[in-house]
Symmetry: none
Subunit: 218 residues, 4 copies
DNA sequence: AATGAATGAGTGTTCATTCAT
DNA sequence: TATGAATGAACACTCATTCAT
């Protein structure tokens, strides 16, 4: 279902359009697919619209993807990789409290989370995940699990430094991402309601989490 | 879009089938719709299958609901009300620590959350929410917001009792429900992965939250 | 296909609703059917609407008519008979020129033609005639042919009196009704265009027809 | 509602099937539609049957016509234009009596009227005209009104030549076409009855009309 | 490689007709 | 007789996918 592009290794090519152009076509399709899937959802997106938006013919899609599902898969992977690519997570300074470190590091990530469309893709995957379990799993492996590993890493540091009660967070790292995910979902889903401030919520969440560590010195 | 059943006021007795039977038919349709929407999603559920599952003819659906969307709306409302009906939230005992109270009270609610299909309905609403914003909003008003109001209530209590740093939670009550929602989503979405223990996660979350209050006495 | 009402002969009745009421119900249905068939056409008229308009239940129709087609048949017959009932065609005065006689007699008939809905029924029969040939034939026998016989009658008189060239009109009486039918059709069909004056057209037609007789005295 | 074929201007050559083939497909659909609409009427004609008869897939229809109504519209226009195309109405010879001219000219037109299906299309339009008023109006503008203009033209000639009483016919040209229309309708509608001879009727009609002119010389 | 006309399975919805009450 | 809830055959229309060009 994946339809990966043929490895661009410099084997015997020549003849036929340049691989560069092929890749460009493919990219245009993924881009168009991303935009439309996000806007209209998987089911309501017509293949013909994807082709139209990509400035290509309907049939062309099938030269690059076996299926609507395969296109969707490619779109999700694309967003996943694109987000990962900008990772470059900074490390805490030698004696920096973990809480300060998180305050410094998370907001830009959230901006990325929002702007990359990742949050809307989560919803999208949630929508179609049941029907396309492989897509959901790709998503988990490429995006969710790495994030959780990082949480575990810094949870360990905070625990070792006595900033956090040992155990809970490194056992259940989802706790850390939960507020951001939920507030984002809330805002996306209930567009009619007053939006919740994702960043402020996360900040208050940190306050609660590190209250013990923050208080005890006093 | 709601197609509510006509108020069963004791008007002039109707000839033909009893109103009771009519209500039963409606209920059967909602039930069948619920099961299928949950299992297959909105788009993939065929009206004919709903009828089949309800043991009724296809046309019968349209005697009770104007539309597929109207049926979906009714299904969501039904689940919402059904869940609310079993509320009967106990109150904390006079001197009971809020944390103990939550430990005592939340697990049954979680069971309800899981068993009522509410968690899957959340996903369902999330899936189709974009296409059916009114449904999403009904959902928020009937389910989400009341829960948040209760959270604010007990957050205030905990803060007044010095169990929690004042402010964060009553400002952003979503923090409280986030771990449960996210772990439930995780389990529903990534059926392929090892499931996360929702209850244990919530417990650990409480540990972190009330760490300050638990520690300081020591 | 006719579903005539059971002969009301005073056999063993008693028990069950009075035949009078039955007839009234039947009449209500025919009336409702007439109105709706004329307004919306045969195909677009729903049986449920007929029932609604008659203030009866859907099922009741089928106690009186086996079929939608049977109802239509009854409606057409009803209009046919109703129109005939008001016949009472006056006779020409002893020495009255046929042309004057027609001028005197036809306009009220045209009013009847228009007001009885007969013209619209013609269109209706024309619409569905192909699908319901028996209805069309009933129509011809009950309405058209009698009219043509009358035309033949007076055509003979006019010819005998030297008012009209002998032969053409009594051979082809349709000629006489043609202008009225065509102008009525025109007005009904092309509601967007300026309507043609049916009466004035008929008058001019008479002028042409009797020009010879009218002129020769000069 | 018209779905006219895009102007075949010599733009950038399209890949894929030739425009010629596209036009042929369209034509096949109109042809099939014509045949079936005439045979079974608008309502009773199934789109799938149109496709079948055209030797095409069901979906193909919708590449050329947005709607069943649009197809009907195209069919009616097609017949209208087809009939007009064969116009080439001859003119009266210098001193030819108008009546002789009409006798010479009308019969072939009647043949065309009959064979082109125009008469049946009139009935068809009459059937659906109420539901599709635009179609009826197209019909009037393209077929009916031009014919009436020609009638007015020759009515004037006949009147000027003293063959006809001045006024009536040029005021109400429908009189001229009425016998043909009515006899054709009669034959089409009452297939069960003995058919009326359209041509003979028209001939007798001319006899009556021009009786004055024919008589007075005597 | 690229195209878009052609396809036809699949779906929501309507409505004449039936029948238990 | 009267009713109206229930039925399911029927139909217009959509859209992912194919393939001749």
């Amino acid at each position: 279902m994946t339809d990966a592009p043929p490895p661009a290794g410099p084997g015997r090519r020549r003849r036929g359009p340049s691989p560069a152009k092929t890749a460009a076509t493919r990219r245009a399709l993924v881009e168009a697919g991303l935009a439309l899937f996000l806007d209209t959802g998987y089911g309501a997106t017509r293949m013909s619209d994807v082709a139209l938006r990509a400035g290509l013919g309907k049939g062309t899609i099938y030269l690059h993807f076996s299926d609507k599902a395969a296109l969707f898969d490619a779109v999700v992977r694309e967003v996943a990789l694109r987000t990962r690519a900008q990772r470059a997570l900074p490390r805490p300074r030698p004696n920096e409290p973990t809480r300060d470190f998180l305050r410094r590091v998370v907001p830009p990530l959230l901006g990325l989370f929002r702007d990359s469309g990742l949050s809307r893709v989560i919803l999208l995957v949630a929508s179609e995940g049941a029907r396309l379990p492989e897509v959901a799993d790709v998503y988990r492996q490429v995006i969710i699990d790495p994030v959780l590993r990082i949480v575990v890493l810094y949870a360990g540091r905070a625990e070792r430094r006595g900033e956090l009660r040992a155990g809970p967070l490194s056992r259940h790292p989802l706790i850390m991402v939960a507020p951001v995910v939920v507030t984002t979902l809330y805002n996306t889903l209930f567009a009619g309601a007053a939006p919740v401030d994702v960043l402020a919520t996360f900040d208050d969440f940190l306050d609660l989490l590190f209250a013990a560590g923050a208080k005890s010195p006093a």
